[in-house]
């Protein structure tokens, strides 16, 4: 065991594995089975980079393909069934089963893991884009039409900005789900931060706890980043309106409520 672990476990027994986990992140050590070196900043950075790459590819692919579809369906008020049932069915599919499905039927590798994560990212993005556009005040849209805007202009200049908070709420759900699920990537030979978790015989308990700390941190940071982008992207007028509402009414919660009412 590494030096750091001894220091910590001598103070509080319960901190032992956590101290060991943190030590695993910052200090290279010999693997449990011996023979190779594990842990330390270099390997952790490697795993983190793969973790982020496969997640970002999946999220961006889902945004590129399904945000426009959501905008289109929402604008024309079509496909309500599609948008809501995709999210309900999507929620029930265990990610492990989905990954196992891809592995056993199509094989292992980066593309398959990215595809699984991509499928996982679709429902919140599609549903929230659709719902967000549908919730835009119809009078506002009528006014835009009356000013002579084309369909495309209405979508781009009116519906999209007004739907942004809802869209970003969906994006946050997608991001969190994808970052969390990328953890089981090593089952398909994509070496993400989940590797120490999946390979305890090499990485030991310290590696597992260290990886768990990192996965939790990466996910919380991902959520925070999307939230910051959301803040920056929300139109000023909408923010003012929300603040006014908030001070009038008591506090409200947003993300789950929106989904639950569909």
């Amino acid at each position: 065991m590494a030096k750091g672990a001894g220091d910590v476990s001598s103070t509080i027994a319960i901190l032992g594995p956590f101290g060991d986990g943190i030590d695993f992140i910052f200090q290279q050590r010999e693997s449990v089975s011996g023979g190779s070196m594990i842990g330390g900043p270099k390997q952790i950075l490697d795993l983190t980079a793969t973790h982020l790459l496969v997640s970002v590819v999946a999220i961006f692919a889902a945004i590129l393909l399904f945000l426009p579809l959501g905008l289109y369906l929402g604008h024309h008020g079509k496909g309500e069934f599609l948008a809501s049932s995709v999210s309900n069915v999507g929620r029930a599919v265990p990610t492990l089963a989905l990954l196992a499905f891809f592995v056993s039927f199509l094989g292992i590798g980066f593309l398959n893991v990215a595809t699984v994560l991509f499928l996982l990212a679709i429902p919140p993005i599609l549903t929230n884009t659709f719902v967000g556009v549908r919730q835009v005040d119809r009078d506002t849209v009528d006014a835009a039409n009356g000013m002579g805007m084309t369909d495309l202009q209405v979508i781009r200049n009116v519906e999209l900005p007004l739907a942004l908070p809802t869209i970003f709420a969906g994006l946050r759900l997608s991001t969190v789900a994808v970052l969390a699920t990328a953890t089981i990537g090593p089952l398909a030979n994509v070496l993400t931060l989940g590797r120490p978790i999946i390979e305890p015989q090499t990485f030991g308990v310290g590696g597992q706890v260290g990886a768990a700390i990192l996965v939790a941190t990466v996910t919380l940071l991902g959520d925070l980043i999307v939230r910051l982008i959301q803040n920056a992207a929300t139109p000023k007028g909408l923010k003012l309106q929300r603040e006014a509402e908030r001070s009038r009414k008591s506090l409200t919660l947003s993300p789950i409520r929106r989904e639950s009412t569909t």
Binding site: A92, T95, F101, S104, A211, A212, A216, T252
Partner: protein
């Protein structure tokens, strides 16, 4: 996949059943005969899965309900409770399974606590939304009739919040069934265990994954039935 990579997967070599002889099984195929013969082996993981899900959702509901009532009575507690539950909701369960093990040990409790923590935000958000959506007119009328705070809550606000509460329960149920498939990482068993033991064997993956989906579909239908039964006045309306 290279032989080296295969060797690094801890359970890939573990086989649920002997798989020699028949070519379908040796080829990791989808074999109806094998499925029929071995379906019984999935009973234990299925029961573990159901038990873990029900336990987590029920305990999660009790806690979330208490917190929601507290937030409803004392408005200032809303923000800290919702922020805390939201963080618990964001932490991936798979990470929570391992972060809990040094504290509560490996096994059922590590799995259950992580899942309970995950359901809190969903249930809390829906219960409080349900309570908040009760029209002010209705509450005024009830107060005018002389109802106390407790009576108002029990006889007016809670019954009117049932649709949102049940909607939250449905989401919590389906997501927890999905997440419980990872609970074997905590040593809590469930349908994820056979999946991970032989992730390359199509028959195995299809049964275990299929049972998860079936479980989610059935539980959703049951809750939908409860919703119709609990809200007779809504049956006429198309919701």
């Amino acid at each position: 996949m290279s032989p080296d990579a295969l060797a690094t997967l801890p359970f890939a070599q573990v086989e649920i059943e002997q798989r020699s002889g028949e070519s379908c099984i040796a080829n990791d195929g989808l074999c109806p005969g094998w499925i029929v013969d071995n379906l019984g082996d999935y009973a234990t993981p299925l029961v573990e899965h159901i038990y873990l899900t029900l336990f987590s959702v029920v305990v999660g509901f009790v806690i979330a309900f208490g917190l929601a009532i507290l937030a409803h009575r004392r408005a200032w507690t809303m923000r800290p409770i919702s922020a805390t539950t939201q963080i618990l909701y964001t932490i991936p369960s798979i990470a929570a399974f391992f972060l809990l093990q040094p504290i509560v040990g490996r096994g059922f409790m590590a799995g259950a606590i992580a899942l309970i923590a995950y359901t809190l935000f969903i249930l809390f958000a829906n219960i409080t939304t349900g309570l908040q959506n009760v029209p002010a007119d209705v509450k005024d009328a009830a107060r005018g009739m002389g109802l106390t705070d407790g009576q108002l809550l029990r006889q007016v606000e809670l019954p009117m919040a049932i649709p949102e509460i049940l909607a939250g329960l449905r989401i919590a149920m389906t997501t927890t069934i999905g997440l419980a498939a990872l609970a074997f990482f905590a040593g809590a068993g469930g349908l994820g265990e056979p999946i991970e033991q032989d992730i390359f064997f199509k028959s195995n993956v299809v049964i275990a994954g299929g049972l998860c989906l079936l479980l989610a579909a059935i539980s959703d239908l049951i809750l939908l039935g409860v919703q119709r039964f609990a809200l007779p006045w809504r049956r006429a309306q198309a919701t």
